[in-house]
Amino acid sequence: MKSRLRLLIVAGVLATPAPARAHAFLDHADPRVGSTVSSPPAALMLTFTEPIEAAFSHVEVTDAAGKRIETGPLEHPAPATITVSLPGLAPGSYRVTWAVVSVDTHPTEGHFAFVVKGP
């Protein structure tokens, strides 16, 4: 009887739903959202709340003057993560604009900024 009860509790815990959003939203980024970094990052990494389709997703980086920064090709190292390599960024503030499609084909978009500190 006790073992059955334990089994039921374990099954209940396993079946307890974790939060779900289905539409992919930014979970975290590196460089972090709104952060100031002391040295220019070599790459930008964005991790979303759901797996995404890289073929229909893109990321753009612009400087404080709105000039587009030439990044490397978009890579998809994990189901919910995309990365792009960055050229050597000069000190200043940068805006990252992303638009992604979750695996159930729902599009989402957003933006954030980070700052590269001067010497």
């Binding site: 779900a20 289905a22 930014l26 759901e50 073929a55 159930d104």
Partner: protein, 269 residues
């Protein structure tokens, strides 16, 4: 675009439920009437139209979002997870529509592909499997009601009794699976009234409550009355089944709206 996809998604859901539920009815309850067989054929035909339409609308949305166009757009979408599942659904439809002995066996697994294509599938395997149970139960309930409604009058008490048992079993699966999905998608009670998703979910629950009440009337009143041989009971059951099907269509429409809405959440970073 979202409205068009919602309507097409609704037609997809209704046709899939009528087809899969009807095939399961044929295996679990009895052979469909000629009108029931025609309904299965029409559901398959509707899916043969709706599935390509859904692919086209989704491709258009991907073009709007990404700028990818032409053959690359079609290729990329076919190789996306949604596209792979879409191809499998089309192949499965061809098997289901071919009236082989496999159709009733494949009807339930075929619905799993739809569960993996949607919100639940985006969140993981367990939510998709539970969504699948919810979908099978809905298909069994609504699909058997459609077949019951299309039987020649007066409705036979034996068939009504079998449908009553199946509907009760379906409800026993529908409710816990639905509660799981609701808790998965709406984490706090206040989000039920503070988000479009929560409000649509409340609408679905209200309609589902009416559906359950009509089902309860069938279970506790009309079908037992038919068994007792009361002459008015078959017509009362037929009217109640007709009302259930109208409400069920509305529930499925709200379900399609839910499939298009983002889950309620706090603002992301």
């Amino acid at each position: 675009m979202t409205a068009a996809l919602t309507v097409v998604g609704w037609l997809d859901l209704v046709a899939a439920i009528v087809l899969a539920g009807g095939l399961l009815h044929a295996r679990l309850v009895g052979a469909p009437s000629p009108a029931g067989r025609r309904a299965l054929g029409r559901a398959a035909l509707a899916l043969a139209i709706v599935l390509p339409l859904e692919f086209g609308l989704t491709a258009l949305r991907m073009y709007e979002v990404s700028g990818v166009s032409g053959a690359a757009l079609v290729w990329d979408l076919l190789w996306a997870r949604w596209g792979e599942l879409w191809v499998l659904r089309c192949l499965g439809l061809a098997v289901l529509a071919s009236s082989t002995r496999l159709d009733a066996v494949l009807a339930a697994p075929w619905l799993l592909l739809r569960s993996f294509q949607g919100h639940a599938g985006a969140h993981g395997t367990v939510p998709a499997l539970i969504d699948w149970l919810h979908l099978i139960a809905a298909a069994v309930w609504i699909g058997t009601l459609v077949q019951l409604a299309l039987l020649p009058r007066p409705l036979p008490a034996v068939v009504a009794g079998r449908v009553r048992t199946l509907a009760t079993l379906a409800l026993a699966v529908l409710v816990p699976a639905g509660v799981y999905a609701a808790v998965l998608h709406v984490q706090r009670l206040d989000l039920l009234i503070r988000s479009p998703y929560g409000l649509a979910l409340l609408g679905k629950l209200a309609l589902a409550a009416v559906l359950v009440a009509l089902g309860a009337a069938n279970h506790f009143r009309h079908v037992p009355a038919m068994r007792r041989g009361e002459s008015a009971a078959p017509a009362q059951l037929a009217r109640a089944v007709g009302a259930e099907l109208v409400i069920a269509a509305a529930v499925l429409l709200v379900t399609s709206v839910l499939g298009a809405l983002p889950m309620p959440h706090d603002h992301p970073p």
